[in-house]
């Protein structure tokens, strides 16, 4: 079992790349020797500090426990050992890798964004028509894009994104990369993705999660 320590992941993604977050930025969430799971621990121990304005990607093979770590921050998975420290004032939005549970619900794109408080005007003009369409009339990729947008640009301090580029075409991924630059103002992002190019385009740090 490989433990992942803060020391091991301090370097930025690409050599020579300027770290976007100042070293004295406030800590948003801190993992301290966290072992997390559901019925039993499936990942960890892991230590990690997430600073305000920082975008961190959890990288690893299927089944390594990346989603479990995200769920542990959101309270949906159990922390068996260690702790996840966060201020009570830290607000969180969480995009799951599963499609939105919208079965038959007559909700428009604009109403979806309004639910999380994301600004509808933040969408690029090419995506604006999605605002007035019913979610169940959208393609899987369009729906995924709106779901990620609703979480990424919500007025929160920490955004948890699980495979945000699933079903999204290259143009959509390019829009997401732009949205990340907007989102980082005041928000931290903890991201899971297997799309290496996307990860390298948006991440300040990549943390490898290894199967226990």
């Amino acid at each position: 079992m490989d433990a992942i320590a803060e020391e091991a992941i301090r370097d930025p993604v690409a050599p020579g790349r300027t770290r976007a977050v100042p070293p004295d930025a406030p800590v948003c969430v801190e993992f301290r020797d966290v072992e997390a799971g559901y019925d039993r621990p499936v990942v960890g121990p892991m230590s990690l500090r997430i600073h305000a304005g920082e975008i961190i990607t959890l990288w690893g093979a299927n089944g390594a426990g990346k989603t479990t770590l995200l769920n542990a921050v959101g309270g949906a998975a159990r922390v068996f050992r260690g702790s996840i420290e966060r201020s009570a004032s830290v607000r969180i939005s969480h995009q799951h890798q599963n499609p939105l549970p919208i079965r038959g619900i007559p909700l428009s794109g604009r109403e979806l964004l309004a639910l999380t408080g994301a600004d509808p005007d933040s969408l690029p003009p090419v995506l604006a028509p999605l605002m007035r369409r019913r979610l169940s009339d959208l393609s899987g990729g369009q729906l995924q894009l709106l779901q990620v947008w609703a979480c990424l640009l919500a007025p929160v301090d920490l955004v948890l994104l699980d495979e945000p580029t699933n079903n999204v075409d290259q143009a959509g991924v390019a829009h997401l990369v732009t949205a990340f630059q907007t989102a980082r103002k005041g928000r931290a992002v903890l991201l899971i993705s297997h799309d290496r190019r996307f990860v390298e385009a948006v991440s300040d740090r990549i943390v490898e999660v290894v199967r226990r």
Binding site: G75, A76, S93, P101, I105, P106, L107, S108, E111, R133
Partner: protein, 276 residues
């Protein structure tokens, strides 16, 4: 068919009472369907009927009996934290069983039992209209507060937990609102007509609506139009209101289904333009 009868002083108060129900029940139904708890409408209506019958047998106020029993069921349901239709199905069975037992063993409850199950809107008075008007105002205010949390919890289920908040107070407020509305409706228009007003217009709106707000308008409009037609038909042909209302709702649902089948491409186009 003359529409003058509706404006006859004898029938105008019942007409207005039913009109308010036809406005507010479908809107409540939108949120019940959102939570996949549409069976709550039938459940609370059955429990309100049982409570009303028990109150009549005990010579207590009938409306209060219905409100107390359905309100208590709402509180218990929130307390045991079970969402979905299973809990409501059990409550509905219990309400139906208790009602039938009371009707079978207490002859004095027979008249009220027929009114509750047949739906005799024409016998409602100003106290029904006043209580319904108050409920309408309360429901409008409550839904302004409840709408976003209920939608948010359904679409982003982890939002409350991730932010250390509990949705229980929203659940309790909504369940009590539904229980009160259904208890009032059952006393005025009967069990099945109340259920039909909650269930059918929302089914139509979920099929046709392009957004949540427009779907609420569609549900309320379908309900009001169907109600007015049912009231007039029942009055002119001297029929009990409840069954006529339920059948009219069935016809409205069939009509909406046919419209959707025939004009599916146009409906999709109108949705994308924000017209439905």
């Amino acid at each position: 068919m003359s529409w003058d009868a509706i404006f006859d002083p004898l029938f105008f108060t019942p007409f207005l009472t039913g009109l308010l129900f036809s406005l507010v029940l479908p809107v409540l139904g939108m949120y019940l369907r959102l939570r996949e708890e549409w069976l709550a409408a039938l459940s609370f209506a059955q429990l309100a009927a049982a409570g009303s019958l028990a109150a009549a047998i005990l010579e207590a106020p009938v409306l209060a009996g219905g409100l107390i029993v359905s309100g208590a069921a709402a509180a218990v349901k929130t307390w045991i934290s079970r969402s979905g239709n299973n809990g409501y199905a059990l409550l509905m069975i219990a309400g139906w069983g208790a009602s039938i037992l009371m009707l079978s063993n207490v002859p004095a409850a027979d008249h009220l039992g027929h009114a509750l199950f047949d739906g005799q809107l024409y016998f409602t008075g100003k106290e029904h209209l006043a209580s319904m008007a108050v409920f309408l105002v309360v429901a409008a205010g409550a839904l302004r507060w409840l709408s976003r949390p209920l939608l948010l919890e359904r679409i982003f289920p982890d939002f409350f937990r991730a932010n250390g908040r509990s949705p229980t107070r929203y659940h309790l407020a909504f369940d009590v609102l539904i229980a009160t509305g259904l208890a009032l409706a059952t006393a005025a228009i009967g069990v099945m007509a109340s259920f039909a007003l909650v269930f059918v217009p929302t089914m139509i709106a979920y099929q046709l609506g392009g957004s949540w707000k427009r779907s609420m308008v569609i549900a309320a409009a379908a309900s009001v139009v169907t109600y007015v037609v049912a009231f007039e038909v029942a009055l002119v042909y001297d029929q009990p209101f409840g069954p006529v209302m339920v059948l009219a709702m069935g016809l409205a649902a069939a009509l909406a289904w046919a419209v959707q089948r025939l004009f599916r491409p146009r409906i999709a186009r109108d949705r994308s333009r924000g017209l439905t």
